[in-house]
C-alpha cells in the first residue's frame, strides 16, 4: 500500500470505499506492521500533546526564548481587555498558533507538524475550528489523519524543510495540511479537502525562510498565526465550491521548483531577507556576543 500523491490517495478512498482517515490509518498500520488500533492510540496521544502545548503556551512568558516573549500571553491579555478585532474563531486561531510557537521557542513539548518551525499552524487552526464546530474527540483525531494524509503526499512530492524549500515548504505545507483537515471536519468531500490544501499552499508560494539569528522565533511564530488563518480562508473557499484550478499534486511540484529557484541565502541560512536587515544583524551580533565557544 502506497500513498504518494493526492490523486492516488483519493483513488484509494474510492476503490476501498473508505474515508480519508481510514485509508491513512490503514496505510500506517501496514507500513509499521501494526494494527489500526495502535495507530489510532498514537494519534490520540498526539492530539493530547497538541492541546497541552496550546494551554501551556498561553501561559508562557518566554523566559527561555531569546527574542520573543509571551506572544500567546500578550494576545490573550489584549483580547480580555477587548482590544482586538474579529470574531471568536478568528481570534482563537491566532491565539492558539502563537501560543504553540511561543512554547516551542521556550523549549516546550510540541508536535512538529510537519516541522518544529511550523508547529503552531495545525493546532492553531484545527483545534480552534473543532471547538467552534463542537466536534467530538473522535472527529478531531480523524481529522489529524487527514492532516497526515495531506502531509504525506506533500513530502512524497516536494520538500518539507526550510533549508530545501523555504518557508513555503514549512508554514505553506502546514497550512495546506490544516486546510484539508478543517474542510474534512466541516463536512467537505475528499476532493474539497485537496482543493482547500491546494488553495492554502498557493497562497504561500515563494515564501522564503529568513529567520533572525538562525532562531525559530522571528518571523516564524507570527507567520505561523498568519498561515493558520489562511488555512481557514482556503477551507471556506473550497467548501463554497471555489476550485483551486491547479490540483494539489501540481501545486506541490510548483512549490518544489520555486524552492529550487530560491537562493541559498533565503533557505534557512539567515544570510538574507529579514535576517540581514540592519536590525536583524544587530540582534544577531548581540546574541553572538553573549554566547561563543
Amino acid at each position: 500500500m502506497e500513498i504518494s500523491s493526492a490523486q492516488g490517495l483519493l483513488e484509494l478512498c474510492e476503490s476501498h470505499h473508505q474515508s480519508l482517515p481510514e485509508v491513512v490509518a490503514a496505510y500506517e498500520a501496514f507500513r509499521t506492521n501494526s494494527s489500526v488500533e495502535t495507530v489510532w492510540t498514537e494519534m490520540e496521544r498526539t492530539l493530547e500533546v497538541m492541546r497541552t502545548s496550546v494551554q501551556n503556551g498561553m501561559k508562557d512568558r518566554g523566559d527561555l526564548a531569546h527574542i520573543i516573549k509571551g506572544y500567546g500571553y500578550l494576545f490573550k491579555e489584549a483580547d480580555a481587555k477587548g482590544q482586538l478585532l474579529g470574531g471568536e474563531l478568528f481570534k482563537k486561531i491566532i491565539l492558539y498558533s502563537l501560543s504553540v510557537g511561543q512554547y516551542n521557542a521556550s523549549l516546550g513539548r510540541i508536535v512538529a507538524c510537519p516541522t518544529a518551525g511550523s508547529c503552531g499552524v495545525v493546532p492553531g487552526a484545527l483545534l480552534a475550528v473543532a471547538e467552534e464546530l463542537g466536534s467530538s474527540d473522535q472527529e478531531v483525531v480523524d481529522s489529524l489523519f487527514v492532516v497526515g494524509g495531506v502531509g504525506i503526499v506533500s513530502a512524497a512530492q516536494g520538500p518539507i524543510s526550510g533549508a530545501e524549500g523555504g518557508c513555503q515548504a514549512e508554514c505553506g505545507v502546514a497550512s495546506a495540511m490544516a486546510a484539508g483537515a478543517i474542510t474534512y471536519l466541516a463536512g467537505g468531500t475528499p476532493d474539497q479537502v485537496f482543493q482547500a490544501a491546494s488553495l492554502a499552499l498557493q497562497s504561500h508560494l515563494g515564501l522564503v525562510c529568513d529567520p533572525l539569528a538562525s532562531l525559530v522565533e522571528v518571523p516564524c511564530v507570527t507567520r505561523n498565526a498568519t498561515s493558520a488563518v489562511s488555512a481557514v480562508v482556503a477551507a471556506n473557499m473550497a467548501l463554497a465550491g471555489i476550485p483551486a484550478v491547479i490540483p494539489y499534486d501540481e501545486t506541490v511540484v510548483a512549490m518544489k521548483l520555486i524552492g529550487k529557484a530560491l537562493p541559498e541565502s533565503l533557505r534557512e541560512t539567515s544570510q538574507g531577507g529579514l535576517a540581514t536587515t540592519p536590525t536583524g544583524k544587530r540582534i544577531y551580533a548581540e546574541m553572538r556576543a553573549k554566547h561563543s565557544l
Binding site: 500506517e28 507500513r31 510540541i110 508536535v111 516541522t115 492532516v147 497526515g148 538562525s214 554566547h291 565557544l293
Partner: protein, 221 residues
C-alpha cells in the same frame, strides 16, 4: 523509496525549538549513552559547523547533555538538563571543532563511564533523524531504524561466523551487516542491524565467544 512515516509528518512529539538542532541532538546524546551501556561520568563534546555556530540559539548543548543523561527527545526535563547533569555528577565540556567534510550538523562526543569509554561522531540530518558515522575511529553508518549489535573483536577467521551463528541460534534475523577494521589482523568492528530486539542473554553469549573483545547493543531509537 521508503514509505513516509505518518508520525514523522504529524510529529515527532519533541521538545523545541528545532527538530535538527534540538531533537536530533538529544538523540545523538542518547545513542552515545546507549552504546556506552552505563551512566556517563564525563563527556567532552566537540561541535562542528552549523552545530558550533548556532548551538546556543537552539540549545544544542542542553539537548546533547539531556540525551547523555538518558532522556528521549520528548522528555520534559530537557530544559533542566545542565542542572541535572551537575546533580548526577556528569562532568562535561563543549568545544568547537572542524571534523572536515561532514554534515554541517555534526558532533564528536567522547564519553567516559565508570567502566568504559567511547568516542562517537554523528550528525543530525533533519527532522530529528540522525546518523552515527564513526564509533571509536571505525567508520559506520547507523541511523537508529534498526536494533544494532556492535562488537569489537580480533580480526581473524571465524569470529564473525561465530557471532552471526549466535544470532541465528536465538532466532534473530540480520537485516544489514557491516564489518570494518583499521588494519589487517588488528582490531575489527562488526555492526549487525537486526529485525528483532537483542535480549541480554545474546549479548552475554557473544561476549563469551573467543576473539570478541567488546559487545554492545543499541535498541532502535
Amino acid at each position: 523509496m521508503a514509505r513516509i512515516s505518518l508520525f514523522d509528518i504529524v510529529g515527532p512529539i519533541m521538545v523545541g525549538p528545532s527538530s535538527s538542532h534540538t531533537a536530533g541532538a538529544v538523540r545523538l546524546g542518547l545513542a552515545t549513552r546507549r552504546i556506552l551501556g552505563e551512566d556517563v561520568r564525563k563527556a567532552t563534546i566537540s561541535l562542528h559547523g552549523s552545530f558550533a555556530a548556532t548551538y546556543w540559539g537552539h540549545r544544542t548543548d542542553v539537548a546533547l547533555i539531556a540525551g547523555l543523561l538518558g532522556m528521549g527527545m520528548a522528555d520534559k526535563r530537557i530544559p533542566q538538563a545542565l542542572e541535572l547533569a551537575q546533580a548526577r555528577g556528569l562532568d562535561y565540556s563543549f568545544h568547537s571543532v572542524n571534523l572536515g567534510d561532514v554534515h554541517p550538523n555534526s558532533v564528536e562526543i567522547q564519553a567516559h563511564g565508570e567502566h568504559g569509554k567511547l568516542t562517537v561522531r554523528g550528525a543530525s540530518i533533519g527532522g530529528g533523524r540522525i546518523r552515527l558515522f564513526s564509533i571509536d575511529g571505525f567508520e559506520v553508518s547507523v541511523d537508529g531504524t534498526y536494533t544494532v549489535l556492535m562488537t569489537k573483536h580480533r580480526d581473524e577467521p571465524g569470529v564473525i561466523a561465530e557471532i552471526t551463528r549466535v544470532l541465528a541460534l536465538h532466532g534473530i534475523n540480520i537485516a544489514f551487516l557491516d564489518v570494518s577494521r583499521k588494519m589487517r589482523g588488528s582490531e575489527a568492528m562488526l555492526l549487525a542491524e537486526t529485525d528483532d530486539p537483542i535480549p541480554t542473554e545474546v549479548i552475554e553469549h557473544v561476549q563469551r565467544l573467543p576473539g570478541v573483545l567488546m559487545v554492545r547493543s543499541l535498541p532502535c531509537f
